[in-house]
């Protein structure tokens, strides 16, 4: 027989637990709030303001007119101009721009004969971004003079599109490298966030702090095994995933190892910091989820970073995953080398050093 009294007893007890644990209480409120903000405000599947560059080989007034018309479409944000198509392509490889609009020298003649006016070089690895750019292909152009009537309306293409890195526009090409960031974020932060709390809960901490072990030694020693775990995971995703889904590997192995190690270190220290903040394993788990949600959703893994409002981009920059997604896609898909993406790498290393210091400063070899 079910007894209401006993059910009631258990319910009351659970409420008592809940009210003792301020963190759980906070999470009950914060998780829906953060989700609401993320999905409602930050995540936007309509891509706008894609950073692009312009190369004008014609030096003509028409090029400036067309550039202006492209700009007011609001799909792109012109962030740079380059002198040669090669320089623009290098900027695409380095991840500074997603596409380049290249006006050929013979632009006026092309307009006169009604041919496509210019060429887009598009980084097609992200299908959502490249779709938005492909929509520009037949955008109608209003040209003052010289163009034959009927040209550059919706029916005839205004631009020629050259798709780089993922010409078949398969979404898995972009997803699989990004997945490494998601998997590493989940496992690395979770493992280490439990590391210190678990020992505190089990009573091992009182022993550890009576030994000569220094906080920093304890922390580094705890992290190192997980570096190996992370490398194995990346190996599985990129090795197996790359083979099954035919992911091109454009970069160098050393660059991949370098950026991955930097990201693993950053994620591990983030977990460690959580471990020094939480008092119980449950709290550590909740804080991990709390960090995981925005860091995965804002990282650009599923939803393009370029489509997010500026404020959300600033927040995204705070999470290591955002930087790593950029790095790993750059290395794997575009063959970027570390020199191209120094700011992201330095950011990850700085993040690691800072958090390791904060975590070991927060960790006292005291019980009070």
């Amino acid at each position: 027989m079910l007894s209401l009294r006993r059910i009631n007893a258990v319910t009351l007890k659970e409420f008592a637990h809940m009210s003792r644990d301020r963190m759980t209480f906070g999470m009950i409120i914060m998780i829906p709030l953060v989700q609401l903000l993320l999905f409602g405000y930050a995540i936007n599947t309509m891509v706008r303001d894609i950073p692009i560059g312009v190369v004008d080989l014609s030096g003509s007034a028409a090029a400036r007119v067309i550039t202006e018309q492209v700009r007011v479409s609001q799909v792109v944000d012109i962030v740079a101009t380059y002198n040669t198509p090669d320089a623009a392509e290098a900027a695409i490889v380095a991840g500074e721009i997603r596409a380049a609009l290249i006006f050929p020298e013979n632009l006026p003649q092309r307009i006169a004969s009604g041919r496509t006016v210019a060429q887009w070089l598009v980084d097609a690895s992200d299908t959502m971004v490249s779709s938005a750019l492909l929509a520009l292909r037949s955008m109608p152009l209003r040209l003052e003079a010289g163009a034959p009537p009927g040209a550059y309306s919706a029916s005839t293409p205004s631009f020629e599109m050259a798709l780089l890195f993922n010409p078949e526009r398969r979404s898995e090409v972009n997803i699989v490298p990004g997945l490494t960031a998601v998997v590493l974020t989940m496992t690395m932060i979770l493992f280490t966030s439990l590391a210190l709390v678990r020992e505190r809960e089990r009573g091992n901490m009182e022993l550890l702090i009576t030994t000569p072990v220094l906080p920093l030694e304890l922390m580094i020693g705890k992290l190192l095994p997980y570096v190996l775990v992370g490398c194995v995971q990346v190996g599985i995703i990129l090795g197996l995933g790359g083979w099954i889904f035919r992911i091109p590997f454009a970069g160098s192995f050393t660059a991949l190892a370098g950026v991955t190690l930097a990201f693993i270190a950053a994620s591990l220290t983030l977990g460690l910091l959580i471990s020094t903040l939480a008092r119980t394993q449950l709290q550590a788990m909740q804080m991990t989820i709390f960090v995981l949600l925005p860091s995965i959703l804002l990282s650009g893994f599923m939803f393009p970073y370029d489509a997010m409002p500026e404020a959300a981009q600033y927040i995204a920059e705070a999470f290591p995953a955002t930087h790593y997604i950029r790095l790993v896609r750059g290395v794997v898909l575009r063959g970027a080398d570390a020199g191209h993406m120094l700011p992201d790498i330095l950011w990850l290393l700085g993040f690691t050093a800072l958090l390791l210091l904060v975590a070991s400063a927060r960790f006292h070899k005291r019980l009070d």
Partner: protein, 309 residues
């Protein structure tokens, strides 16, 4: 270097309003086994934690092995061993793995480590258990492992917080033999307990109650000081006798033990006849002076300032 391994002056620790340890003065000589005897919550663990630098005192000072606490806790750590009240080795590591881990932490090199661990496994009868996970060991086995771990780096000062709480009497005897071996070898030991028989084995003893250090001294002296104050009463109707005695101003406590009543007096009586006057007149009771035990000392020190209940 002073003579004492530990010196504390006015050592106090508060947790909010609660005073867990109150104004404790201590001086513990090298090579002694020094006992802290006290009931649950009397502040034994808190005092030990302060003395090994894990808790910061709210007031007072302490020095251990000539290191000022808590400032110099770090260099002190290499020279002390601490066996926590709650088992604090890793449950999912084997006996040997636990010892190996700690030996490395204490910086023993490979050959030292292997030699030391072989010696300890042997000394503590842990060889047959060396590959068993600590979580799967019995209470007594675990406690032997914990002591082995605490002595791994041959500390000069060893803190043992209720080391035998999960141990049967036979094992407790063996355990104490090991403690005397360590003491013989020059180690200073601090042992907390709430067992009287254990407390009696210490060279020196301090009785703690409610955070206060009530008395300290050699156990035999403490018991000797109660000469003439303990009387055994035998006969019928002991419950009623006890009721009567407890109303007397001369009696500190009266506790029944089987068919006898153990009476502790506030002042010694020379003549048993004087005592008999306080008994109900119509009874035929056999009274004789008894040798004081540590329990009597304990009752005496912890109840002296309370009204008998």
């Amino acid at each position: 270097m002073t003579d004492a391994a530990i010196v504390a002056n006015g050592l106090t620790r508060r947790f909010g309003d609660l005073v867990a340890v109150n104004d404790v003065d201590l001086e513990i000589a090298h090579g002694q086994i020094y006992g802290f005897l006290g009931p649950n919550g009397s502040g034994k663990t808190t005092l030990i934690r302060m003395l090994c630098g894990l808790l910061t005192p709210s007031a007072g000072t302490a020095r251990a092995l000539d290191f000022q606490l808590p400032e110099q806790a770090e260099p002190l750590r290499r020279r002390i061993g601490y066996m926590t009240q709650k088992f604090s080795l890793f449950d999912d590591l084997s006996c040997k793995e636990n010892l190996n881990f700690l030996a490395r932490i204490y910086g023993l090199d490979n050959s030292q480590r292997q030699m030391r661990i072989t010696t300890l496994l042997n000394q503590f009868n842990l060889e047959p258990l060396s590959s068993r996970q600590a979580g799967a060991m019995s209470g007594g086995q675990r406690q032997r492992l914990a002591l082995a771990a605490a002595t791994l780096h041959e500390p000069e000062l060893l803190f043992l917080d209720e080391p035998t709480s999960a141990v049967d009497p036979q094992n407790r005897r063996d355990f104490w033999e090991t403690l005397f071996d360590l003491s013989e070898a020059g180690t200073t030991l601090l042992v907390s307990t709430h067992y009287m028989d254990e407390a009696e084995r210490c060279h020196q003893l301090a009785i703690l109650d409610n955070g206060n250090l009530k008395t300290q001294g050699v156990p035999a002296d403490l018991m000797g000081a109660l000469k003439g104050r303990v009387i055994d009463v035998q006969g019928d109707g002991l419950r009623a006798v006890r009721q009567q005695l407890m109303t007397s101003n001369e009696v500190l406590s009266a506790a029944q033990q089987g068919d006898r009543l153990r009476v502790l007096l506030k002042k010694p009586v020379q003549d048993i006849g004087v005592f008999k006057q306080w008994l109900p007149g119509d009874q035929t009771l056999h009274c004789e002076p008894a040798k004081a035990t540590l329990e009597d000392v304990f009752v005496e020190t912890t109840q002296a300032d309370e009204t008998p209940c």
